[in-house]
């Protein structure tokens, strides 16, 4: 851009107080800040800090790339702002509006200061728009990043937490499934079950689906795949914890579970597993002595 230095930094510095006052009153009027649990004093403090940091940053020249070193302090402030507002229940657009709402007051002062020089007005306004747009979008970006990190972490935890393989008895494993089964989880479940079968030398695995809220054709297919893989390795599977509704759904959907032993409760499945291993449970004193 080959044009004389922008007047924007000088105007912002000179009129910082008036701009702040007008910006604040317009924010208070619009009432957008009431959406969360924000105090007016806090809004004032944040507005003042943001304007001061913005003024400081543009004194070093107009730079539109918000990732440059010049914007480091403003960026830090916006990250903090975005986090605290998100915690207070603001939506991303309300957070971005905080930055965008500065435009009105700023434009007014730019227009007034340069009213004798229309050519410079356009240049200064353009600079102000670009800077504020970039900063406003940055708040949204930060908001989204924080959310995505949270989701990714929870997803990982969910996958790891919800697929424990426990040993019920020598040669009998149980896999209590909790939550919806999708392809990715089934893969993890299948792998951990098969690994444990090898590690413990178990020949029977009980898959308990008490904690699986719904069983559709896809979930049933995943289950049958797991059973088939275990059978290929030489282990038998028993599916337990089938609730009445799920039994009805399975029949209505026409899913064929006849190739697998199924039991209503984990206790029944365990009893069957012991029987297949040639073991029995009885009162002390009646067995072996």
């Amino acid at each position: 851009m080959n044009r004389p230095a922008s007047r924007l930094p000088a105007i912002v510095e000179q009129h910082q107080k008036e701009i702040l006052a007008e910006w604040l009153s317009s924010q208070v009027q619009s009432g957008a800040w009431r959406a969360g649990r924000l105090q007016e004093a806090q809004l004032q403090d944040e507005s003042q800090r943001f304007l001061a940091l913005l003024s400081q940053a543009i004194q070093q020249g107009i730079e539109f790339d918000t990732r440059s070193a010049q914007w480091a302090e403003v960026r830090e402030f916006l990250i903090e702002l975005s986090r605290s507002r998100a915690a207070q229940g603001f939506t991303p657009s309300q957070v971005a509006t905080f930055v965008f709402s500065l435009k009105q007051a700023l434009f007014k002062h730019v227009t007034e200061s340069l009213k004798n020089n229309p050519a410079e007005i356009a240049g200064a306004l353009w600079d102000a728009t670009l800077v504020l747009d970039a900063l406003g979008l940055y708040t949204t970006e930060v908001y989204q990043q924080a959310r995505e990190q949270l989701i990714a972490r929870q997803q990982e935890e969910l996958i790891e937490l919800s697929t424990p393989v426990v040993q019920l008895w020598e040669g009998v494993l149980a896999l209590p499934l909790i939550g919806t089964l999708d392809s990715e989880r089934t893969q993890v479940v299948m792998e951990s079950l098969l690994e444990r079968l090898v590690a413990t030398g178990s020949s029977i695995a009980v898959i308990d689906i008490t904690g699986v809220p719904t069983v559709d054709t896809l979930v049933a297919q995943h289950l049958l795949k797991t059973v088939a893989a275990a059978q290929l390795m030489g282990a038998d599977c028993i599916i337990s914890g089938i609730r009445p509704q799920i039994a009805q759904t399975i029949v209505h959907l026409g899913i064929d579970l006849t190739s697998v032993a199924t039991k209503a409760s984990l206790a029944d499945a365990f009893a069957l597993a012991l029987k297949r291993r040639g073991l029995a449970v009885g009162r002390a004193g009646t067995i072996g002595g």
Binding site: Q187, E191, L194, L197, V198, S203, A230, G234
Partner: protein, 127 residues
């Protein structure tokens, strides 16, 4: 040319696949094994695939064929030591190897064969 060794132990034939199977090797094994069953009058075949890391649909079908051929020659077949990754691959390929007995380890496989041979009237595919 490399071959898969077939060992005779009492009434059993032991086949341990230690190298990655290519198609020709699988065909050779099928040939050798059927001849050996007839020559030794073995009653049971134990195939150990614990060293097999990769399996394709051809290999899967080959295992099924070997089991079917052995059955015709009146020998029970058990496949032991399949790795989890191999089992998952076979299931994804849609090959659940019906009619093949499987066991986790050589010990478990031998126990299974002894039990099956003690009750000769039972159909070979158990389940």
């Amino acid at each position: 040319m490399d071959r898969v060794p077939i060992l005779k132990l009492e009434d059993y034939l032991l086949v341990s696949i230690q190298v990655d199977m290519h198609d020709q090797l699988a065909l050779t094994l099928q040939d050798d094994l059927t001849q050996k069953i007839v020559a030794t009058r073995a009653r049971a075949v134990l195939i150990d695939i614990s060293a097999l890391e990769m399996v394709d649909s051809f290999m899967g079908r080959m295992l099924g064929n070997i089991a079917a051929m052995s059955r015709i020659l009146d020998a029970q077949t058990v496949v032991v030591g399949m790795r989890p990754a191999v089992a998952i691959t076979l299931v994804e390929l849609g090959l659940s190897l019906p009619g093949i007995r499987t066991a986790l380890s050589v010990d478990a496989g031998l126990a299974l064969l002894r039990e099956a041979m003690a009750r000769p009237d039972e159909p070979a595919d158990g389940e």
